[in-house]
Amino acid sequence: MLRRNRLDQDLDEELRAHLEMRAADNAAAGMPPEESRYEAQKRFGNTALLKEDTRNVDIIGWLDEAVRDFRHALRVLQRSPGFTAVAVLTLALGIGANTAIFSVVNSVLIRPLPYGDPAGLVMVWETDSLHPNPHNTVSPPNFLDWQSRNTVFSGMIYIFDERDNLTGNGDPQEVVVQDVSVNFFPLLGVNLLLGPGFTPENGQAGHDNVVILAYGIWKERFAGDPAIVGKSIVLNGHPQTVVGVAPQNFQWFIKDGSLTGAKPQMWSPFVFPQGWSDHNGMGRFMTVAARLKPGATYSQAQAQMTAIGSQLEREYPDADGHWGVNVVPLGDYLSGELRPALLVLFGAVACVLLIACANVSSLLLARAASREREMAIRTAIGASRWRIARQLLIESLLLAVIGGGIGVSLAVWGTNALLGASPKNLLDLTAISVNLRVLTFAVAATLFAGLLFGFLPSYISAHSRISETLKEGGRGSSSAKSRAFARNAFVVAQLALALILLTGSGLLIRSFVRLIGVNPGFEADHVLTFKVSLPRHKYGKDPTCLAFFQQLLARINAVPGVRSATMESFPPLSSLGAATAVHVLSQPSLAVSDLPVASVRVVGPDYFRTMNIPLLAGRFFNAQELAEEKHVTMINQAFADKYLHGENPLGQKAAIYMKSLSEKEIQPSEIIGVVGDVHQIGLDTAPEPAVYWPHPELVMSAMTVLVRTEGDPLALVSTARDELQKLDPELPMAAVVTMDQLLADSFSRARFTMLLLGIFAAVALLLASVGIYGLIAYSVTQRTQELGIRIALGAQRSDVFRLVLSQGTRLTLLGVSIGVFAALALSRLLATLLFSVSPSDPLTFAGVAGLLAIVALLACFIPARRATRVDPIVALRYE
């Protein structure tokens, strides 16, 4: 396009000059000025047509030339298959890795969310200024007040999830149901695949027995029945009418707000019962989202919600003291966790591409030197500088396009490999594909790379002086000097970039080693875990529930191969749990919201022995305490350290605000023992203060059963299921997994990031060492004559060796030092991904700098050895 414009302008000017000269001559011959112009114009005839004729000639000619250059470039590349293969592979690696990572970045950070006008959606969380957690769930009364007092949202929705028991149409199955406000789908702007959805009437008590199915369960459990709408299903023993099916790409899974930790399989409207507007009677357990009114900004919403939060704080100091409101755009929230890791990876692959470009550029420079005579001769017979530069650029672009093509195929394969290697729940499996936007990116990366690595060699070649070149045979000329400088600079840059990547992966590896070295606080191997949730309609009474689990554990304990079986309300490392205020009675009493907070874990018999959690003081629960409510509790070390400050915990009484928020209604529990800390949320999170209750103190209907086995835990799954179904054939066995697997999952993200960055760093190391090897090998070839003379004049082999090696050493030292400084500046970006390793960890820096230096010097070693074997006779005859 640019070129066409320039041609047009040139032509215009040329024709105008002609007209003006003719008019001037006419005037000189005595014609009146107007007539002289007119005559000149007349002779020209149809200017537009003339211009078009001439321009066509120009453009066809230009295209012709381009095709000729292209053919020539193809021939040139075919003539040196070795060079072509190395360059194409290097580029394919760089472009492929970039495309693969971009496709992930695209689907996680760029692609629009599957909601109508997703930019207007925000999450609204509560925040507790005493226990910093920006994403705390919301209490129903606060939701109601937010809804009635705000003017910035066009609507608000609430969500909380639970596991329900689906029976009928086949085996009983535990399903995750999100209880939502009736405006859930309209507010998210989602059109259902089937059915009318919830009506406003479903938002009234007694009319809420309807469900909308997720696409997956509709396909699997109901065989994609197109007439499902209007049919009835049975949830927890109650019939529910299906009023819709959600589209395939729809999902709503907000990890911080989920009580089940799993994606929903159906949605049901939930109507607040009487009493849920009472601020002092309700806990915080709901996820809240809202849609901004048209024109309202997110910061206006934050400002207003903060104001409403302070009003509530004053009005209900007991429930809402030091609680505030945090408004987060939905897109930011959803990509928040992955964003730092993805941006680091994207930066890393961009570095790999730069190294690849520097490498190919270096190769081209070496080749350009040997083709200098060809270029000089072409210039001598009339080729313009632009012609020569263009021909070399077309060669570069051709290389880039071939490399890019292979790279995209690599990326398609690599994206699948990436998904295979990525931990589940980290990436959304169905959402990533190589689509149009990814291809556009690949094409742009290819062209960018082609121009980047092609520019300097073309520029230098186009500006070389013919006479010098022809005289000196291509050595010692000014262009040879600028080439040598450029090649040195490229090698230094490659080494520096490689050092940055090596530092990044070194830090992640150190951090990972620290992470897997963390003692989880329990013994994870040979433990099978699965979840049992008792439906309320059948097991609503506490004694029934207690008795059921006691029988279940007794049955499983009797199975051969089982060492011991126990249970817990929420398994370790699941990042699920309940927490509440605890008042140790020996300490002054405070408002509920000012009391210390501890997580509450309900456990079965032999829990600590089965999990191998050490007893630090006192005793375990006895059989009586495990059979009926005796008001006893055990605490962990973190609780003792943080809240008891060295007082003896044993015998102290604590009011645990679980069943009520009013201390008068709470029967305090006596602390009978202290156990070691367990990493409940993840290995990278410090253990929180916790209190343990035996099951009778807080009868929960959903428990995770933990079975320590002699052999492979998974071998016991079917026996355990048989025992469960002997007790109740309608009960599903959910979330079956070994504790080892849970542990592995908990650091799978760290491992994944480390693995990818490690691969990129290895590629960078390889390319950079190939780069420095190529440079030294080339310079040895160039200096064969000189080295031969030195040897002939009596230089020792070791002198020659040192001479060659010193060139490589200088470049390596320079590259490594620049790299260290750059890495020091950049490694801060990794801070959020690191666990107990400083971004400027001296050991890592020293280690990777040493590694890179050794590898680079080894790469120089080979050509240096070759230099010592130069035969002076052969060398002098050279050329």
Binding site: L11, L15, A17, H18, E20, G45, L50, V57, D58, G61
Partner: protein, 110 residues
């Protein structure tokens, strides 16, 4: 392409232009003036044919072009004969001679 009435014989224009440029670099207008003057106003070069022809000759490498200043300081594009162009001119001259000879023979014979 359209054909003006008094268009020169196909190929002749190239010959005339190349020959004109033997005297040195010249712009398009100069070429038309020179041909008109030397042929004593008998041959008139149409601008509509001249410029496409000049650009084609440039692409074929017979002439090279460069921006320069005209006698009265106006920017104009100057065309110059290349080595290839000289060879082409010799060829064209030979062809022309053969053609006129052949035409003359036909005329004599009739």
């Amino acid at each position: 392409m359209r054909k003006p009435k008094n268009d020169l014989l196909q190929g002749t224009l190239a010959l005339l232009v190349l020959k004109t440029l033997v005297r040195g670099p010249l712009h398009g207008y100069g070429i038309t003036l020179h041909i008109q003057m030397v042929s004593k106003d008998f041959l008139r070069v149409e601008e509509g044919s001249l410029y496409p022809a000049l650009h084609r000759m440039e692409q074929d490498g017979w002439v090279s072009a460069e921006w320069g200043l005209s006698e009265n300081n106006r920017r104009a594009r100057y065309y110059q004969l290349t080595a290839k162009g000289r060879k082409q001119l010799a060829e064209e001259e030979k062809n022309w001679e053969r053609l006129t000879e052949a035409v003359a023979h036909v005329l004599e014979f009739a």
